[in-house]
Structures are given as structure tokens and as C-alpha cells.
């Protein structure tokens, strides 16, 4: 009797063989391979944040009175609670560093220009979403430091011309201590949704370009690049695991009623450039409050970063040099903040 080979259960329902074949044939140039490995590291770190975040969400209570107690409960009573929380915290820092490296790499390789403009803007949006994600995450345990950071952020948002008050109400909610509900909503809903959409745009862009034989020095996507990304991810996970188990993240002091900031407050390293500008800006610039000018300049900076490919359109290198200079300067300030 003749035996007919049947496709497997999964292969019949998910015919991915043509896609895999294409992946096996795909090649990228060396610069693309390095950026690809970093991209895979970002995806791995996102996976870690998602998994640990989902676990922490099982216990977290987004209210001023209960937030710190719920985090304390996780840290002191829940098995592996301290490890999971520390992995989530350190993972966020690692994700920001990986994204900074990716942004720098893309700029240095001039991969922000046509036809990569939309992918560049998506990557910039992912960066800002990750910063907002890390910041909202740092406020959730509602320590004394979180309360002050929330006050500063609320004040800074209010400085946005025209829409400041409305925006503040949208992000921080009504006065009276309900800000954690909104911040938690942003942290687990709106910001991950924005990041996912942008990452999808990035993946479609990269995936659509993995075709062709490439040049002689082109590298295989599968298995060379995939293995490199996996190795990078494993290394990062090992470092994070060592950090989380040897130096668990502290909970921070409990906020007192209306916590007064008579002591100096240091910002998170990723906000150090903004903090420096807010601290050093004069009280008034051209008749406007200095903080308003700083906020407007920052908004213009965000727009400039998104529109960088348009600045470089005619073969010039102004945008690339400007972007790299701003990135290097920010890294310097962030590095100083970490060392301090």
C-alpha cells in the first residue's frame, strides 16, 4: 500500500514553511547585521519586561495608600517577589540603554535616511515611549521620591503652551491623589500599545527588506544573526539576573504628608539632561518662565528627532551630525548622573 506523507498538525494550520525558507535565504550587510542583533536584544528585553510586569500586576494596587504596601508585600512576602521586581526595574534600564545604542547605531550607519524614514520615526517613538514607560514605572511604588517626581512631571506638563492644563488633567487626573490610576493605565495600556504599534511598523520595514542574495560580505539572517541576537539576549539576562539577585532594588522611603522637598532630589539617569536644563534655566527668558522655554525646546527637540530624515534629505550630513552630537551630549550627562 502506498503511504502518502501528511503535513503535520501545525504545518497544516500555519503554513510558515515558505516564510522560513525565505528567512534561511535572507542576507544582510555587516552594519545591518549589527543593528539587527541589537534589535533582537531590544525584543528580548521587551519580552522580559512584559513577563515580569504581568507578574507584578497580580499584586499591584494603583492608589496612594495601597501602592507602597502592595510593592512591599511583593518584596517581603511573595516568593521570588524581590527578584521579579528587581528584574523588571533593571530590565527597564537595560532596555533604555539598548535603545540608545540602537538609535546611535542607526544614526552612525545613516540608516535614518530614505527609504528608512518611517522606521526611524517609529524607533524614535519607541524610545520616547520607553522613557515614559520607565518614568511612570518609577512612580508606581509611590515612595517619597516618586511623589516629588510626580509633582515635577505634573508641573512640567502644565508648562506646555496652550494645552498644558488639559494635558495635565489627562495624564494626572483630577486633583486629590488619583494620579496613580492614570499613571498605571499609561504604564500597562497606552504606552505599551504605542510601543507595540511602532515596533510592528519597524518589523514590517525590516522584514520586507530581508530579500535578495546581498553582497559577498553579507551575513545570513538565519542562523548567524539570530544566534548572535540570542547570545546577546542571554548575556543581558545573565547580567540582569546577577544584578537583581545581588543588589535588589530598594523600596525607597515612604512619602510623608505633602512630602516637602527641602533636601536635594536627584533625577533618574535617563531624565538627567532634562533635569539639568530645568535646574540651570534662568527664572525668566524673554519674559517667559524659564521652565516653559525648556519644555518648548524639548518639544521642538522631539519633533526635530522625528523629522531628522527630512533635514538630511539632500545628501547633507547635518541631521546625522546633529543627532549624534545631541546623543553623545545626552549620554555624557546621563553617565555623570549614574556615577553621582
Amino acid at each position: 500500500m502506498e503511504r502518502v506523507s501528511q503535513p503535520g498538525f501545525l504545518a497544516e494550520r500555519y503554513p510558515v514553511e515558505p516564510l522560513l525558507r525565505r528567512l534561511r535565504e535572507a542576507r544582510v550587510d555587516p552594519a545591518g547585521a549589527a543593528l539587527g542583533a541589537l534589535g533582537l536584544l531590544v525584543v528580548a528585553l521587551l519580552g522580559l519586561e512584559l513577563a515580569t510586569g504581568a507578574l507584578l500586576a497580580l499584586y499591584y494596587r494603583p492608589e496612594r495608600e495601597g501602592a507602597r504596601a502592595s510593592v512591599q508585600f511583593v518584596v517581603t512576602r511573595v516568593e521570588y517577589g524581590e527578584l521579579v521586581r528587581s528584574l523588571h526595574g533593571y530590565g527597564a534600564h537595560a532596555l533604555l540603554l539598548a535603545l540608545l545604542a540602537l538609535l546611535g547605531g542607526v544614526l552612525a550607519a545613516a540608516r535614518h535616511r530614505k527609504p528608512h524614514e518611517v522606521a526611524w520615526s517609529a524607533l524614535v517613538l519607541v524610545w520616547f515611549a520607553a522613557v515614559a514607560q520607565a518614568f511612570t514605572g518609577s512612580l508606581l511604588p509611590w515612595s517619597a521620591r516618586s511623589a516629588l517626581d510626580a509633582a515635577v512631571a505634573s508641573g512640567a506638563v502644565e508648562r506646555v503652551p496652550v494645552a498644558g492644563s488639559a494635558l495635565r488633567a489627562l495624564v494626572f487626573g483630577p486633583a486629590g491623589g488619583t494620579e496613580l490610576v492614570r499613571l498605571y493605565g499609561l504604564h500597562v495600556g497606552a504606552l505599551p500599545a504605542l510601543g507595540t504599534l511602532c515596533l510592528l511598523a519597524l518589523c514590517l520595514h525590516v522584514g520586507g527588506r530581508l530579500v535578495g542574495e546581498g553582497t559577498a560580505e553579507a551575513e545570513r539572517v538565519w542562523p548567524t544573526l539570530a544566534l548572535r541576537g540570542a547570545a546577546l539576549g542571554c548575556f543581558a539576562f545573565a547580567v540582569l539576573l546577577a544584578l537583581a539577585s545581588r543588589r535588589p532594588l530598594p523600596l525607597g522611603a515612604a512619602p510623608s504628608l505633602g512630602a516637602a522637598a527641602s533636601q536635594a532630589v536627584a533625577p533618574s539617569w535617563f531624565l538627567a539632561p532634562l533635569d539639568l536644563l530645568l535646574r540651570r534655566a534662568p527664572a525668566r527668558v524673554l519674559g517667559l518662565p524659564g521652565a516653559t522655554v525648556v519644555v518648548v525646546l524639548c518639544l521642538l527637540g522631539v519633533l526635530g528627532a522625528l523629522a531628522l530624515p527630512a533635514i538630511d534629505r539632500r545628501g547633507g550630513r547635518l541631521g546625522q551630525v546633529l543627532g549624534l552630537a545631541v546623543l553623545a551630549l545626552s549620554l555624557g550627562v546621563m553617565g555623570l548622573a549614574i556615577l553621582r
Partner: protein, 153 residues
């Protein structure tokens, strides 16, 4: 024939249809976005014009006492002559709560280094305006801080 997509009249019609489609899509997006933003904007809080009481001795012994008038933090401070003032404790730079630095006898904001005198004036740092002042009246041996109409300067 008018069915021919390359016919001169057909292009204009197609543009018109494209435009109508774009306007319709924008309208539909707006119809979703406007109620969503209005939903997310919290209704305005009442409570303006509330007042709070504080014991004079508490202020004099500690030098300053933080109270809340509604959601607003207010610092009642004792000046050197025994005069009491109620100052909005929200820093005019970015809204951190200021506190009394007993060593220097000044109000300080640790967020960005703003310094205020006990009368609310800016001494140094990035705050662009003095602290808000609230009316304080004595009633039945207690100080009443009125939340209505604070002023600056």
C-alpha cells in the same frame, strides 16, 4: 464612455470620491477621538473656597506647619516678630512642595534648588514668581487659613 477609467471626467470623479472618503474617514476618526478625549478629561473639582484651621502654638513651636486647603498644600510660617503667614507650598517653578530649612530660616525646594524667604519672595533659583499667599484670621483661639482667592507678592 463614462465607464472607461481613463476618460477625462472619470479622473475628476475619482478625485472627488477620494476626497469624500478622506473627509469621511477624518470625520469618523474625530467622532471617536473627541468623546474619548472628553471622557479622559476629569470633571472639574469643586471645593474652592474651603478653609482649614491650625493651632497657633503648633506653628510657633515648629516654625512652620503644612496643612491642606482642599488639595492645595499650604505652609503656615512664623515670622521673626511672631507674625504668621500662610503661603502656598507649591513651588512656582514646577510644583514641588517646598519645606522650611530651619538652619537658614528659608523655604527651600529640593527639586531644582529654588529658595524663598518666609514672606514668599524668591531669593534665588529658577522659580519665576513668589509663593501664593492665603488670608489667615484668628477665630476661637485657632488660626483659620482661607482657601478663597490667594494672591502673590
Amino acid at each position: 464612455m463614462s465607464d472607461d477609467p481613463k476618460a477625462p471626467g472619470s479622473l475628476g470623479r475619482r478625485r472627488l470620491l477620494d476626497g469624500a472618503l478622506a473627509v469621511g474617514a477624518c470625520g469618523a476618526a474625530g467622532a471617536v477621538a473627541v468623546p474619548a478625549v472628553r471622557f479622559a478629561t476629569p470633571p472639574s473639582e469643586g471645593g474652592a473656597g474651603t478653609s482649614v484651621t491650625v493651632r497657633r502654638e503648633e506653628v510657633l513651636s515648629e516654625g512652620a506647619k503644612l496643612v491642606f486647603v482642599g488639595a492645595e498644600p499650604v505652609l503656615v510660617v512664623a515670622l521673626s516678630g511672631g507674625e504668621l503667614r500662610a503661603l502656598g507650598a507649591r513651588c512656582t517653578h514646577l510644583g514641588c512642595t517646598v519645606g522650611l530649612d530651619r538652619a537658614s530660616g528659608e523655604l527651600r525646594c529640593g527639586c531644582h534648588g529654588g529658595r524663598f524667604g518666609l514672606d514668599g519672595r524668591v531669593l534665588s533659583g529658577p522659580p519665576p514668581a513668589p509663593l501664593a499667599q492665603y488670608a489667615v484670621t484668628a477665630r476661637d483661639g485657632l488660626l483659620v487659613v482661607e482657601g478663597r482667592r490667594p494672591w502673590r507678592g
